[in-house]
């Protein structure tokens, strides 16, 4: 029991609990019938081949209705009348309801009140006792929020990694204690087989020495392996520790800890995970303080979604290419963001650079830990690069003639429809891109071909533009595991002579949003913007807004007509963000949002 409860319940400026007014009225809330309401989900049935039972999906949530009995008492009924007027001033309009839990440690919760109403039944005994009880019903948005907004400032991680340990020797590698209950003592060896390492001559293979996978006997199997890698990386200028990891089953980094000479052992989160070929995924971990990194501990989680029927050999892990990377200066950047709270919410995304941003494409989606990133040209296997300083990639491909080929790891492409955009230019007025995609296993193409083509009349402009190509359903043939040899081969040509391709981008369309704005390039001015704000919808601005400008406090911000817009929903957990700023390298992106909670804020 709490000895001296300090709870508070405020509706706007009116304190419902222990409030008081000048003329002497006091307010309190009855505990009986008090409720924050419940938000009911809107469910949609999903037809399937299941004969018994039905699969349901939550489409959205309805408003909730909070209800309180507020008692206003005073030295006389005139004072009580004043109190009722003060309460009425907060009702029948937009407002906020703030709940402070009694123990002093619980986080303060805010409910956004859409509208409210009051009922005032006549009670003769209460009148004689100089008090009145009012029932107030507050219609609120389904989820509550924290009091203060959370800001995720961001840099992106450069893809240039200065390798500090190329994993050619196992000296000093040792088992580490992890948080989970099933750990398999690892054994270390160097693996130089082609296809099992990324840089140098080999990688370190971490094999679990013994144990039984979790869930043996059920329909899934999970394995955790925790190990520590001794390092000596000078991170006095900050930066990110980057390592490449590959497992045998579906894998990801469950927990990572970095120990530094200046700060001790800290848990770190991965800022980005990107597939880099041969099943390897590159993880970037922020260095906790600016000193020397001495130890990197990883706990890798692997999951097999089927039970093979007999105890399988424990899966191996390969680690390679450990080094340090700086903040990115690229025009195409990808990162993960950790969204707090327990319910989805909208937020504001601000993009800024020192010069005009150029063509901006901002894409957000859930991060499924599959190493996905939208740009395809990094997987180029066939094509003649022509140096071009205007191109994001430093060179362009002439599309007429033999097809340019990109081979993208199939395990990183979540199944569904993809919007395909391309950055192209032509001196001749029309541009066109035709893409054909097919799944390739080993070096044999299997299954059908998905193809799409698009064209655009760019007039006399000879600069790079971003254009829509169309929709591709990928992967053309589904593959089961993430760590697979299968790739999706994109063959890109053009039926329009003179088209030059800088980049091809594929964006999954489900549960995602894409905003595309032309901000102008060059020095910031009234028509060239170095800042872009994408604001999600709120009760005040139900359609959100997209603004450009140059002043960080939005003093010169103005609305702009985007070429595409989406609603950038933020889901708790990991979100993936991709940012293309064609004229500004290393643009920064910060996300401001209120953490949303079911009822009580967690922080």
């Amino acid at each position: 029991m709490i000895d001296n409860p300090q709870h508070a319940l405020d509706l706007g400026d009116f304190a419902l609990v222990d409030g008081e007014g000048e003329s002497g009225w006091k307010s309190s809330v009855h505990a009986s019938d008090a409720s924050f309401g419940e938000s009911l989900p809107v469910l949609v049935g999903v037809r399937s081949l299941l004969r018994d039972g039905m699969s349901l999906r939550v489409q959205s949530h309805e408003n909730r209705e909070a209800y309180f009995l507020v008692e206003i008492s005073g030295p006389d009924l005139a004072a009580v009348g004043d109190g009722e007027a003060a309460l009425m001033a907060e009702l029948y309009r937009r407002n906020t309801l703030t709940w402070t839990p009694p123990d002093g440690y619980g986080a303060v919760t805010v409910f956004e009140v859409v509208t409210s109403r009051m009922s005032a039944p006549l009670d003769d005994m209460n009148e004689l006792m100089l008090k009145r009880v009012f029932g107030i019903t507050l219609t609120c948005l389904p989820f509550s929020r924290s009091v203060d907004p959370t800001v995720i400032g961001s840099e992106f991680v450069s893809s240039d990694v200065v390798i500090a340990d190329d994993c050619e020797s196992t000296t000093g590698w040792a088992a580490a204690t992890g948080a989970s209950s099933n750990l398999y003592p690892p054994a270390f060896s160097v693996d130089s087989t082609a296809g099992n390492f990324v840089t140098g001559t080999g990688s370190v293979k971490v094999s679990a020495a013994s144990g039984v996978p979790v869930g043996y006997g059920s329909s899934y199997l999970t394995a955790f392996t925790a190990f520590g890698i001794p390092l000596s990386i000078d991170a006095s200028g900050g930066g990110y520790v980057v390592c490449a990891v590959r497992g045998e089953w579906i894998f990801s980094i469950y927990e990572a800890h970095i120990t530094t000479s200046g700060g001790g052992r800290e848990k770190v989160a991965s800022i980005s995970q990107q597939a880099i070929g041969d099943g390897f995924v590159s993880y970037a971990l922020a260095v906790p303080d600016a000193s020397t990194v001495t130890l990197l501990e990883l706990e890798v989680w692997q999951n097999l979604n089927v039970n093979p029927g007999e105890q399988p050999p424990l899966p191996d892990i390969w680690v390679d290419s450990i080094g340090l990377a700086d903040a990115s200066t690229d025009s195409q950047q990808v990162r993960s963001m950790e969204i707090g709270g327990s319910a989805r919410t909208e937020g504001q995304i601000a993009i800024s650079a020192a010069v005009g941003l150029g063509d901006v494409v901002l894409y957000t989606a859930r991060d499924l830990d599959d190493g996905f990133r939208p740009d395809v040209r990094r997987w180029q296997t066939v094509g003649t690069d022509v140096a071009d300083s205007d191109a994001l990639n430093g060179s362009h491909l002439a599309l007429s003639g033999a097809a340019s080929v990109f081979e993208y790891p199939a395990g990183s492409l979540r199944p569904g429809a993809y919007a395909v955009l391309a950055r192209v230019k032509s001196a001749l007025g029309d541009v066109g891109v035709s893409v054909a995609a097919q799944t390739v296993i080993g070096s044999t193409a299997v299954g059908g071909v998905e193809s799409e083509s698009g064209s655009l009349d760019v007039g006399a402009v000879a600069d790079f533009v971003v254009m829509r190509v169309g929709v591709l359903h990928l992967p053309p043939t589904l593959v089961e595991a993430t760590a697979t040899d299968a790739v999706v081969r994109f063959s890109v040509t053009s039926e329009i002579a003179g088209t030059k391709l800088d980049e091809l981008m594929v964006f999954p369309m489900a549960d995602a949003a894409l905003t595309w704005v032309e901000c102008g390039d060059g020095s910031p001015s009234a028509t060239v913007s170095s800042r872009l704000w994408v604001d999600g919808p709120t009760l005040e601005k139900p359609r959100g807004q997209i603004l450009v400008g140059n002043d960080e406090n939005r003093m010169d911000a103005r609305a702009v007509r985007p070429l595409a817009r989406g609603s950038h929903m933020l889901y708790p957990g990991k979100m993936l963000a991709y940012l293309l700023t064609s004229a500004a390298g290393g643009a920064a992106m910060s996300v401001t949002y209120y953490k949303a909670w079911h009822t009580h804020a967690g922080s």
Binding site: G416, A417, E450, P475, P476, A512, A513, A564
Partner: protein, 362 residues
């Protein structure tokens, strides 16, 4: 998430700038391409009709960043604090353009009719390989025909169908023969009708002309082998084409027989939930991107007798799609829909379009 962009006098407006937008729906058909779309905007009743909502504005519907439907704003209405805008596809304008040559005389040459209609203001780009030979006996016809009548007639003689897609491109092609989408949920088109079922066509044409009047007629026929009691014959009057020969008319007759289909019509369509429609490799299809004119393969099918046969597949050319943005289901009907329900019959155009009228040779 879809967005509606209207263009008036060279300037683009997004419907979402006017107010809250909801209920964005669009339909496509094969033939014809983009046919109908509608969306609702919450604006107060006294809003002056802004340029964004003017009748005649070009309309583009985007699904995310992808252009999915194109047409022009045709009507609007106001009820319950909500404005509903309706758009029609550019194909509908073909009925309002006459088939004229550069001097304004009626023509029966398809490519001239289309090129001149575009020059006079039909807002499409022609990518179809249209024939330069006249459909009638003479280049110039006595009666006026609409561009739509010319396109319908040309398509029928080739056994093809025409459409204007979301990027305003006019194309003409035969029905697809390989499926693009695969339906995985055990559902299929099961109700069949035999009203439009035919196995033989007999076409009557003018074989000789004296002093401008037809004096002799002849018949050209085509048929496919029919099962017992399933032979259906249908006449076809080609005398409006003027003086012609059996050899010239034979490909037309064969094409019409193929187009009409020696197959039963269907009396209902399908409602397909998300996740059940996939591409051949298994990835689920985004329902708003399915367009009429593509072929769908369903597994577990009814044969003409109505018996569900396991292991067989049914290939259907989609004749019509209807989708509401954000919905979890897509409604499709096949090309051979024989309307049986009152609502479908009423929805069919009350006034059928004018057929092509040719001129006999002098």
């Amino acid at each position: 998430m879809a967005d509606v962009v209207t263009t008036w006098a060279g300037r683009e407006y997004a419907a979402s700038d006017l107010g809250d937008v909801g209920e964005i729906k669009w339909e496509t058909e094969w033939p014809f391409g983009c046919t109908k779309a509608s969306w609702q905007v919450a604006m107060p009743p006294n809003s002056s009709l802004v340029n964004a909502g003017r009748v005649g504005a070009d309309v583009k519907l985007y699904d995310g960043p992808i252009l999915t439907w194109g047409g022009y704003l045709s009507e609007f209405e106001f009820a319950d604090d909500v404005w509903t805008f309706h758009a029609s596809g550019y194909y509908a304008l073909a009925e309002h353009f006459l088939a004229l040559d550069a001097t304004g005389n009626p023509t029966s040459i398809p490519t001239t009719a289309v090129v001149q209609a575009i020059a006079r203001g039909w807002n499409v780009t022609n990518l179809a390989a249209l024939s330069a030979s006249p459909l009638s006996a003479t280049d110039e016809t006595v009666e006026f025909n609409t561009v739509r009548a010319v396109l319908d007639e040309l398509a029928a003689t080739l056994g093809q169908r025409w459409k204007v897609d979301e990027a305003r491109r006019l194309t003409m092609a035969a029905d697809p023969t390989t499926p693009r989408w695969f339906l995985d949920n055990g559902d299929a088109l099961r109700a069949t009708a035999d009203e439009d079922y035919l196995t033989a066509i007999y076409a009557r044409y003018v074989a000789a002309v004296t002093d401008g009047e037809p004096t002799a007629w002849d018949v050209e026929s085509d048929e496919t082998p029919a099962l017992p009691n399933l032979r259906r014959e249908q006449p076809l009057d080609l005398t409006s084409l003027g003086l012609t020969t059996g050899a010239a008319v034979a490909p037309d007759v064969a094409a019409r027989l193929a187009l009409a289909g020696t197959r039963h019509g269907y009396t209902s369509g399908l409602e397909i939930p998300y996740g059940d429609l996939v591409v051949s490799g298994g990835a689920p299809v985004r329902l708003g991107q399915v367009k009429a004119g593509e072929m769908l393969r369903a597994f577990n099918v009814a044969d003409p007798a109505g018996v569900v046969s396991l292991g067989l597949t049914q290939d259907v050319v989609i004749g019509r799609t209807s989708y509401t943005d954000g919905a979890d289901t897509l409604a499709i009907t096949p090309v051979d829909l024989t309307p049986r329900s009152l609502s479908t019959i009423l929805a069919a155009p009350q006034k059928p379009p004018e057929p092509f009228v040719g001129t006999p040779a002098a």
